[in-house]
């Protein structure tokens, strides 16, 4: 794929002309850039720096010790477990939903799109409460679950469910525009050539969306590991058992164990930085792919 040349987008020359025509004076430009930089410094770089400086404030020894604490390890394990279950499931759900929306016309399509966006528009706390109302002791299925000795709320299944709910939109949202831009001619071509549905999906559709898919998965994973609100409601905060990393940070902080709190927080911050890095690379590839699809489509429309 590395050698593909992309014909999409404006040429550098047209872009420069456009910039000159719509450009602002030097003063306005520097003020705008200055404001943006100042804002970023205050609200992003400074907090990030504080997280790391606080984490290492009492030296490396304390930092490592607070990460190796059994409760901290349990929280890390639980976070990883929740993400390991939620991300693959949302990968499958997301691809399936995006596939339906991007490639087919059906009644209730806009309703489905709205439903996919629901976890974004609902407060995470409310999402958590929904699960409490459904599976809690006083909830809809509570008595039945209790009779069968199944615990969902204040246990790992609840945390996983809440995580799945809040991270559902990422993959689907990322893929829908991509699939729509690509249309379905390539799939039709594959079918006419004798490929089965699965062959068409794995050999034609999936390779065409892989960068967008990876991008969605990365965002989904970041949110799954960092989710606080919804998980907090369903977790019950049982140390060493139902605490995820974000919850563990809160508890440590409330107990004035600042160094330990920031040490765990620094792991989350590291995750964020890694995510951003990977995201940048993948986003660049994904945009190239989208541009290619668009160029492909445009060419067709000229006729």
């Amino acid at each position: 794929m590395g050698s593909i040349t992309v014909a999409a987008g404006k040429s550098p020359a047209t872009r420069r002309v456009a910039a000159a025509a719509t450009g602002e004076s030097v003063a306005v430009r520097s003020i705008l850039i200055g404001v943006a930089v100042l804002f970023l410094a205050l609200f992003i770089f400074l907090p990030l720096a504080i997280v790391f400086s606080q984490a290492f404030a009492k030296g490396m020894g304390v930092y490592w010790a607070s990460l190796r604490q059994p409760d901290a390890l349990a929280a890390i394990r639980l976070t990883l477990l929740a993400a390991t279950i939620a991300v693959p499931l949302n990968l499958v759900f997301g691809v399936a939903a995006a596939w339906c929306i991007g490639k087919f016309e059906f009644v209730g399509k806009s309703l489905l799109i709205t439903l996919i966006d629901l976890p974004f528009s609902v407060s995470p706390v409310v999402s958590g409460l929904i699960y409490v109302l459904l599976f809690g002791l006083q909830g809809l299925f509570g008595p039945w679950l209790a009779r069968h000795d199944l615990q969902i709320i204040f246990a790992v299944p609840g945390i996983v469910l809440a995580t799945i709910f809040v991270t559902f939109p990422f993959v689907a949202r990322e893929l829908i525009p991509l699939l729509q831009a690509q249309g379905q001619e390539e799939e039709e071509a594959a079918l006419a050539l004798g490929a089965s549905g699965w062959q068409t999906f794995f050999r034609v559709s999936l390779p065409n969306i892989k960068w967008g898919l990876l991008y969605g998965v990365i965002l989904c994973n970041a949110r799954a590991m960092g989710e606080f609100g919804a998980v907090s409601v369903v977790s019950g905060h049982i140390r060493g058992r139902t605490n995820t990393m974000p919850l563990h940070v809160e508890i440590l902080y409330n107990e004035y164990q600042f160094s330990a709190a920031f040490a765990v927080a620094s792991l989350l911050a590291l995750l964020a930085l890694t995510t951003l890095l990977v995201k940048t690379v993948v986003e660049w590839r994904a945009r190239r792919q989208l541009a290619e699809s668009a160029a492909w489509g445009e060419e067709g429309q000229i006729a």
């Binding site: 794929m1 050698s3 593909i4 040349t5 992309v6 014909a7 001619e185 390539e186 039709e188 071509a189 594959a190 079918l191 006419a192 050539l193 004798g194 490929a195 089965s196 062959q199 050999r203 034609v204 390779p207 065409n208 290619e292 699809s293 160029a295 492909w296 060419e299 067709g300 000229i302 006729a303």
Partner: protein, 343 residues
């Protein structure tokens, strides 16, 4: 393999794309579905391919009902207007795709696939580009790869949807001659959709002219051009002058008379400086002269105010020395009248 479409009707919501369409395509022929956009020609092609299903009617391949079989089981080669090449595969992989996805028991060996693809690459004259990706090819090259890909599975029918629609004029001309040649070599039953009458007349054995979801006429290019059976066909296959008049003394047009519309092709009108002794002429004023090209095209205004297009040879034009705003006499050499159908 022969193809037969019987009583095909297809609706998209309120829009009727095809209405009781019947079409027989004998084995080994190259048939063009010709019509303006929205005439249903692509829909008919897609229904033959199994990419779309008719609301009613049947599709027969060699007399066998395939109406409910999907594209995968019909063994058709389909070439899309916008190529639909797999963008993440090389030219080689694109052409090999149809062979590679076969079930294991009927899949050719790697060597066989390799040999087949190279044979096809030779056929489309792109042997040295096997490793390229579609985005690195020109439009004409992509279209040829799409064709090779469709031929790789040795289909019983080849269907082409506006195969040259998105190419520039020169490449189009080259490719359609090549397609004609290819068909003469391979003799596979082929149907192609086009809105370009010249293309249809030049390439195909037979032309089916379509309009508003119906087939207006099916015949050899010679038939449909010289013996059109409906005004639409006459109109669509070349430029035409339309007069609302009545014909007197076989070839004269009377002003303002009511009757069936009269059609004349621009090259079948003669320009004279003197009125015809036997009558059958009308007066016209020359409004515009375009002498670039093999024929000189003249736009004039008839004595009763209808625009008239005349085409004449450069020789004749030089001989007459026509100028703008000049009044001349026009004699139709051949008129075509379609009796209005009794409703």
């Amino acid at each position: 393999m022969s193809i037969e479409a019987k009583e095909i009707t297809k609706k998209f919501g309120q829009f009727t794309a095809l209405e009781h369409v019947d079409l027989k395509i004998p084995s080994g022929e190259l048939v063009a579905l010709l019509g303006p956009s929205g005439s249903g020609k692509t829909t008919l092609l897609r229904i033959i391919a199994g990419l779309e299903f008719a609301d009613s009617g049947t599709i027969l391949f060699d007399g066998e009902d395939t109406t409910h079989r999907n594209a995968r089981d019909r063994r058709v080669g389909f070439v899309f207007q916008h190529y639909a090449l797999f963008r993440h595969m090389t030219v080689f992989e694109n052409i090999a795709f149809g062979l590679k996805v076969r079930p294991r028991n009927v899949r050719p060996s790697k060597e066989q696939i390799h040999a087949k693809v190279h044979e096809l690459l030779g056929l489309i004259q792109l042997k040295n580009l096997a490793g390229r990706y579609p985005s690195q090819l020109s439009g004409g090259q992509r279209q040829r790869v799409a064709l090779a890909r469709a031929l790789a599975v040795e289909p019983s029918v080849l269907l082409l949807d506006e195969p040259f629609g998105s190419l520039d004029a020169k490449v189009r001309l080259e490719l359609r001659r090549w397609l004609r040649q290819l068909h003469d070599e391979v003799h596979i039953t082929s149907v192609f959709v086009t809105h370009d009458q010249e293309e249809a007349l030049e390439v195909s054995d037979r032309v089916a002219v379509m309009n508003e979801g119906r087939i207006e006429q099916v015949g050899t290019p010679d038939d449909v051009y010289h013996r059109p059976i409906t005004p639409f066909v006459y109109n669509f296959l070349g430029n035409v002058n339309l007069f609302h008049g009545r014909i007197d003394e076989e070839t004269s047009i009377q002003e303002g008379a009511t009757g069936d519309p009269v059609y004349v092709r621009p090259h079948l009108l003669e320009i004279h400086r003197q009125p015809n002794r036997g009558g059958g002429h009308f007066r016209a004023t020359i409004k515009h002269i375009n002498s670039a090209g093999p024929l000189v095209k003249i736009e004039a205004l008839s004595e009763w105010g209808d625009p008239v297009q005349v085409e004449l040879s450069q020789e004749k034009f030089r001989e007459l020395q026509l100028t703008k705003e000049e009044t001349v006499f026009i004699i139709p050499k051949e008129l075509k009248v379609f009796q209005k159908k009794a409703i």
